[in-house]
Amino acid sequence: MSDTPLLDELENGPWPSFVTDMKEAAEKKPAARDLMRQLELSYKERVGHWKHGGIVGVKGYGGGVIGRYSDQPAEFPNVAEFHTFRVNQPSGWFYTTKVLRQLCDVWDKHGSGLTNFHGATGDIILLGAPTSELQPTFDELSSIGFDLGGSGSDLRTPSACVGPARCEYACIDTLDICNDITRTYQEQLHRPQFPYKFKIKVSGCPNDCVAAIARSDLSIIGTWKSHIRIDAEAVKQYAGSSLDIQTEVVDLCPTHCMKYDAVAKTLAIDDAECNRCMHCINLMPKALRPGVERGATLLVGAKAPIVQGALLSWVLVPFMKMEPPYTELKALIEKIFDWWDENAKMRERLGELIKREGMGDFLRAVGLKPVPQMIMRPRANPYFFWRDGEVK
């Protein structure tokens, strides 16, 4: 009889089964086999079986490897040490099969044969190797052109939506920005020296397909200034399709800035009122396109709930042109790093620090003027400050 009956059950059903992958790896790799057996125990007992933390790494780097030890090393000796690599993905998660095969070969040689494509931050996760294999693995990764991602109190691996590579909505070159930033801040990525983690994500338009606004300290989201481009012919085609332009598009426009003439089959947009939410473009991609004057809105502060509750990023710069070498962007990033580094308590994310110190202090530190786009609505409490010199 199988010694993993609970896990076996998860091989049934139409969705691809991770258990099948584990079994495949287990055929070659004792570590994968022990991982399964330990997981079966967790399924039986309904608790995890990994010890707390553990700091491990490779030469010259402070992050990129997550240490992990079994709490039952005698029972599961092949996962007694089971550390994972965070390997920095190519922008947009594009691969040639050639490099993927190279990665697999390296990992079959040194690790458990199990991976995650990808981790929630965006890295390739190579799941489980003993301490002795860490440096050799890294050396081989390096030789096939893969570097590590972030972990600990450093810049984390930036990520970007597919952007101009395959999306007509992309207002900025998400992939290039992501790649450029990652390369520029290698030091910050690899050597934890920040108060806590710092994440950057880049989406090409307000659809935000990498969820930048929800999970990056700095969210870069493409947008435009000029008017939405309307292809009148294509509008007429949609008029004849199953799409009900009035109820599905116009009525759902949040700013009520669209008018549809069902007889003439023409669409008009009052661009001054449009907030560029993307809804109409999403529904009529052949007829409507973002404007031609393009750039990004920069937002800051998003994070998960620990410690003071989750935050969504909020607008810092309503519009910034995004052209290589991204000088303005980098100047701002560096001012943010500096201010945060100087002022944050241990394990205080940027958003929490701004919350604690106030947007005013932050804006002055990074040299930006307050503008109404930063807020949804002004304060309701009368507790505001006056700075030196403002009051005689």
Partner: protein, 353 residues
């Protein structure tokens, strides 16, 4: 020889198939041909077909090699993964599209996840690799996706429905803005192991880590005490100090959150909110969780307007109606008592009976 360091990720340009290199930034429009199949058309007239395939994310190297085989056969050796861990085969030759799909189906790969479908569940490590989980990740995801499978490969929903899972309050799945979030929670305070605390922990840091001020230093004992009344089991003390484990077979389980979104389409991004405070860990199939998720998805699908995301629907009908329609009991836990609580209270006599 020391390895090179700080050279950064492989340049993505070298990973792009020729059709993309040629039409980079020149895409004009797209069509959703059928579930799982996108067609992008360039200003140049070139076409690119994308076949999206569901993935368990935890892949063996052999499985990756099989994927490579397919990409070589149909896509000139190029492929990508999505921000939700799906696979995308990038087909420049339209004649290869149907053969690829047939081959995928034959091998049991699910094609879908585009448009008004349920796509992959963004998730985390769970019992497979993390030290703080309150539930497993991959197992719950597998159980839920099996149960919702009919919605992956077909367009039967009013709008996108994005499900995410995180196995503890650290929320590595960044579940806090999902249409449906599955979140592992503990329900018992840390069980202080004084020897470990003394040996391994910086007392002031642990005290400072507690969001509710439940931890006090205990100087005579060179350890800590936890005010159990004040503890809401977030696990942040354990992150800081191995002497504070919370995991517990009875205490641990899953909570369900609904109504978040990320895109700014129509309405601004918003956080998910508590729907079900606790469901037990019941491996391997977590039936209480799969039932709860399906109930929420199907109640929404039945009542929402076209293009109306979960949260947009709930805000239109009101949360009182949401609880009524889904038959989910309303409890004390639903009422916020953290820092922004008063912002969630109903300051109007205008509500529905």
């Amino acid at each position: 020889m020391a390895a090179r360091t700080d050279f950064g990720p492989p340049d993505f340009h070298s990973m792009l198939p020729p059709v993309i290199q040629k039409n980079y930034g020149q895409w004009k429009y797209h069509e959703r041909v059928k579930p799982g199949l996108l067609k992008h058309v360039s200003e140049s007239g070139d076409e690119l077909y994308t076949v999206r395939v569901g993935s368990e994310r935890l892949l063996s190297t052999d499985h990756v090699r099989e994927i490579c085989d397919l990409a070589e056969k149909y896509c000139g050796g190029y492929l990508r993964f999505t921000s939700r861990h799906n696979l995308e085969f990038l087909v420049s030759d339209s004649k290869q599209v149907e053969p690829l799909i047939a081959d995928l189906k034959g091998r049991g790969y699910p094609v879908g996840g585009t448009g008004a479908a349920i796509t992959n569940i963004v998730h985390t490590q769970g019992w497979i690799h993390c030290h703080t989980p309150a539930t497993d990740a991959s197992g719950v995801v597998k159980a839920v996706m099996d149960d919702l499978f009919e919605y992956f490969g077909a367009w039967k929903l009013p709008a996108y429905c994005r499900i995410s899972l995180a196995c503890c309050l650290n929320m590595c799945g960044a579940v806090h803005c999902s249409d449906i979030a599955i979140l592992g929670i503990h329900r018992k305070p840390p069980h202080v192991n004084h020897d470990v605390v003394r040996a391994k922990c910086e007392i002031p840091n642990v005290v400072a880590a507690c969001p509710t001020g439940a931890i006090r230093p205990d100087p005579p004992n060179k350890s800590l005490t936890v005010n159990e009344e004040k503890c809401m089991y977030c696990g942040n003390c354990y992150t800081m100090c191995p002497g504070m484990p919370l995991a517990d077979a009875e205490g641990d389980g899953v909570s369900i959150w609904v109504g978040g979104k990320v895109s700014s389409a129509r309405t601004p991004p918003r956080m998910s909110r508590l729907a079900i405070p606790f469901l037990p860990n019941n491996p391997p199939r977590w039936p209480e969780v799969t039932d709860a998720v399906k109930n929420i998805v199907e109640t929404w699908a039945k009542h929402a307007h076209k293009h109306e995301r979960m949260g947009e629907w709930i805000e239109r009908i009101g949360w009182d109606r949401f609880f009524e329609l889904t038959n989910i009991p309303f409890t004390e836990q639903h009422i916020d008592d953290y820092t922004l609580a008063t912002e969630t209270f109903r300051s109007t006599p205008a509500f529905r009976w």
